[in-house]
Amino acid sequence: MERSRAGRALHALLAVLAIVATILFAPACSEPPRGVVLWHPYRGGEEAALKKVVARFEAERGVKVTTLAVPYEAYLSKLEAAIPRGNGPDVFIGPHNRLGEYLLHKLVAPVGDALPDEDVPAYEPVTVDAVTHEGVRWAVPLASKCVALYWDTRLLSEPPRTLEELAAKKGALGAGVWPLAYESHSAYYHAALLHAYGGALFDGGFAMIGPAAERSLEKARELVTSGAAPDEASGDLLKTLFSTGKVAAVISGPWLAADLSDDLPYAVAPLPEIEGVGRMRPFLTVDGAFLSPDGAKREDARALARALGSSESARERAETGKQVVATRAYWARADGERPAADDRHAALLRAFRDASADAIPMPVSTAMNPVWVPAEQAIRKVLRGDATPKDALAEAKARYDDVMRPPPPSPSPAPLVIMIGLGLLAAAVAIVRRVRAPGFRRELEASKPAYKYVAHAAITIFVLVVLPLLAGAVTSFFAGTRDDPRFVGLANYVDILTARGKPLLSHGSFYLTLLVTVAWTVVNVTLHVAIGLALGVALARPMLRLRAVYRVLLILPWAVPSYVTALAWKGMFHRQFGAINALLATLGVEPISWFSKFSTAFTANVATNVWLGFPFMMVVVMGALTSIPKDVLEAAEVDGATRWQAFRLVTLPLLKPTLLPAVVLGSVWTFNMFNVVFLVSGGEPDGTTDILVSEAYRWAFARNSQFGYAAAYAVIIFGLLAIMSRVLGRVGGGEAKEAAS
């Protein structure tokens, strides 16, 4: 009997394992598809053009091509997941500046005869440069993308020759109309200015330093302070301003044209010159057809890549897909043809192609990635006037170097092994003592059947909660990037807890961030409870009219996904166009630049999070209030209590047992409220409003993928929260248990 039961259990376990194995390995085991697989991130016209090109290729060559559109956001991770397993594409289209990552993860092979030497003259030289890395050609260039100047033909009679000429139009354009708008906080857009002065963002290391970089920042600040360009302009804002004629010219890429109405009178020109300096030179990205290592071995795949770049397909891609194609023949022929006067798209393409002539290909090294954040912090700091360009750039360089610092040397694992060993020993001793305790065996025997009922839940929790937790903890003992992890023992923890050798409360240190996080949690939870309590009590009044309506309205903030709310609030806090400053303006308050000071940025975050968080407390309070017997409150009234006294001396103590767990929960949520901090202030100004969890995120995803360091942060956060819940639970728990009757 016992044996057969055990046998059945074993069978069940094997079946589960088989299912899991099938799910995990099925894609790897499946038959490789015949024909060629092509991945691309295109949509709309670009996708239609690609389909036509592919169809022609299939017809000519008699090969089946399977195309798959993968969203751009997920592109890299999908490639990383699929290609090493052998079920990725043979050919994939992507921007050339991701080449560093492709190489790192071994996702590409040289194009070889897909772009033979004899084909090279057929392409724009700058595009071939872009796909060439260390003397090897890695892709067939298809199309280029760079920014250019959109100008409103109603406001300007001709494209401005110089930036100064455009800026001088301020005032002449009419009230509330800006001469120029661009995403001034973005390093990508600033690069055009930087390049004009002969500077660079990246040269193998952080290169935005020195006189050229300083002068470019001074220029950017001059544009903003002189009122020639708005501060804090986002992509959406640019679109709105330009569509409504509130700005004469904007710097943007071909993607803006897709969002503009066909009726809007505008034209595109290359970026203007800077007086006495030279032409603004934007970054260029080139979409190329890359070959995966498997694809490079297949003749059909190489032929497809070559065909994608050919001049026939270039025509299709230019005319249907509106791409600025890399093939010179197309432009040569187009130059020969008389462009139709109303063919605006042709003119647009031509303008972007002209702009690309001066553009500088984006560097391809993965070491480029950590450049952006410090560069943008420096730009914002200068634009706000918080620092001189020199200081801001020096700080940015220091940050870059900090992020790129070499991992600490691998120590002997002995201390860690000893610690883990001691931990296991302690656990073993505890278990043995437990087992030896009288009655344990009997209890175990008695509860045996119960294990069957909880097994599935225990396994699920182990797989979904415990394993990731352990994996995270293990990761924290490693440093270096994901692809080059090195065991460093407790060095990450030591680094974090000693603020990497800098003063303990210096900028970006763990302790400063912890202080901010604690302040953030205390302020938020206090306001959540206060507002939730006030509204809960107000809504509990039976005489209140329209109570149900208020209740629904007040719960709404909770029902909206938090990132939607966070983005809405971020918009409302915009300095020039936000609702809050507009409201303050009616009260005669000067517009506040919310994200330029810690206090205001913190306030903005708190306002958003309070909006998100009070309904939970309100609902908890409303629920708890119904459990307070009415006659106890009446007894207090008869005993002589005023309303306030009854609330303070009776209602509040009786709410406490319910409120406390809610406060613990709310504290944990707020402590880790990533969405609001990341989306509203984004750590602005200068990372000061970051909390621990957003700081951990930045170490993992914005600072050269230092997952080990981020994991150590996460483990520390976990520890802090565990202690906090324990303490809060103990403080209130005892009383709560007593008071519950």
């Binding site: 009446e634 007894a635 009234e637 008869v638 005993d639 002589g640 209590a641 008071a739 009757s741």
Partner: protein
């Protein structure tokens, strides 16, 4: 439930031994309500009620559920506002004052102890709110807890107490306040039967000891009969009858009061008055009895349609040549030891009928048999068939 009159006699004897209570009429009014009307939405709860409670009186409001007795109590406490009418406490018009300014103390049905406070804190709560000096609070608590036997429970929380103990704490909380009037809202209904009888006596004892003025609401007629100095029977938002409890028991002014008080209920049959040989008889539904001419006087008119009422306790097995009032077809006999109740009917189409029998007589009575019943003419109640009011009132 069945022992109401007996218990009453017992407890009034006890009362007399402790404090001689002067007649209510001679004393000052402690609480008065005049012309009270109260509606909740469209439902009229009180339709013009007057209430007078002289100092030191134990007044009991009794009536079926929904009669408005609790509402009236809450109006006196200030927990509800009257639509019409005035309330005065100790000569002060409190109609529009909140509860805290009325100087009343209330014991709730659920006791309504503060669950987060110890017994001591519960007792001190009201005094602290009124700014009573700490020493005074201490002495009052000591006194009250001694009176109620709470000394050993002072540091416990309400949930650590039994139902009876909580009840005593609730009373203690009222006692320490020394209010103008004590208000009790069905304070015994959450206790088991044995405890209820015990606490009932205790409440009355405390009332007498403190010389308190009390307004007590109950739907339990035993409590009403045993506790009250003056009883107010409410029905449908009106005072149906008021007075000393025995008087009401013996001379119910309406059919409602007659059936509401007394257990088992008074037997009622429809009948007619007739005159035979110079004496008035009431007859109907198999019942035929002489009536007390002195009591009903001019109300006795030959041929008048009446409801004949006789309490089970006033019936007995007809022996010797005692006139037979009715013949009961016995269905069930409830033997309680000292007495027994025979349930049955006089006529199969008529209402059920109950008679009290002596224990000895009951032994020989078997279900299915018919027994002759006798009753003194003075025990016969007559009500007008149309108005349901007692004849002669």
């Amino acid at each position: 439930m069945s022992e109401a009159p007996h218990r009453h006699a017992g407890s009034s004897a006890l009362r007399a031994a402790e404090t001689p209570v002067p007649e209510p009429a001679e004393r000052k009014l402690r609480c008065a309500a005049r012309g009270i009307e109260k509606s909740f939405g469209a439902t009229k709860i009180l339709r013009g009620v007057d209430l007078e409670i002289p100092e030191g009186t134990f007044a009991v409001l009794v009536g079926p559920s929904g009669c408005g007795k609790s509402t009236l109590l809450r109006l006196v406490a200030g927990l509800e506002q009257a639509d019409k009418g005035t309330i005065t406490l100790a000569g002060r018009d409190v109609t529009n004052l909140p509860p805290r300014d009325r100087d009343v103390a209330m014991v709730f049905q659920s006791y309504a102890l503060y669950p987060h406070l110890t017994v001591r804190e519960n007792l001190a709560f009201g005094l602290k709110l009124r700014g009573t000096p700490a020493a005074e609070i201490e002495s009052r608590i000591r006194e009250a807890s001694a009176m109620l036997g709470l000394e050993k429970l002072m540091d416990r929380l309400p949930k650590q107490l039994s139902g009876g103990q909580r009840q005593r704490v609730a009373m203690g909380r009222a006692i320490v306040r020394r209010p103008t009037i004590f208000l009790f809202d069905e304070p015994l209904s959450n206790l088991d039967a044995a405890l209820r009888a015990e606490v009932r006596v205790e409440i009355r004892r405390l009332h007498d000891r403190l010389g308190a003025t009390t307004l007590y609401v109950t739907h339990d007629q035993v409590e009403a009969m045993t506790l009250a100095d003056s009883l107010w029977v409410l029905n449908g938002g009106l005072v149906e009858q008021k007075g000393p409890p025995l008087e009401i028991y013996e001379r119910p002014r309406t059919k409602f009061v007659a059936t509401f008080l007394g257990s088992p209920q008074m037997n009622l049959v429809a009948g007619k008055l007739s005159k035979e040989g110079g004496a008035f008889w009431a007859e109907g539904g198999g019942v035929r009895t002489r009536v007390d001419e002195e009591r009903f006087g001019d109300a006795l008119v030959e041929g008048r349609e009446v409801t004949i009422g006789v309490r089970p306790h006033d019936l007995c097995l007809a022996k010797g040549d005692a006139p037979i009032v009715a013949e009961l077809k016995v269905e069930i006999v409830e033997a309680l030891g000292s007495e027994a109740f025979a349930h049955g009917w006089i006529r199969s189409s008529g209402p059920t009928f109950v008679a009290r029998l002596d224990a000895a007589d009951a032994r020989s009575v078997r279900p299915g048999s018919a027994i002759p019943l006798a009753a003194a003419p003075s025990a016969i109640h007559l009500f007008d068939a149309k108005t349901d009011r007692a004849l002669g009132d």
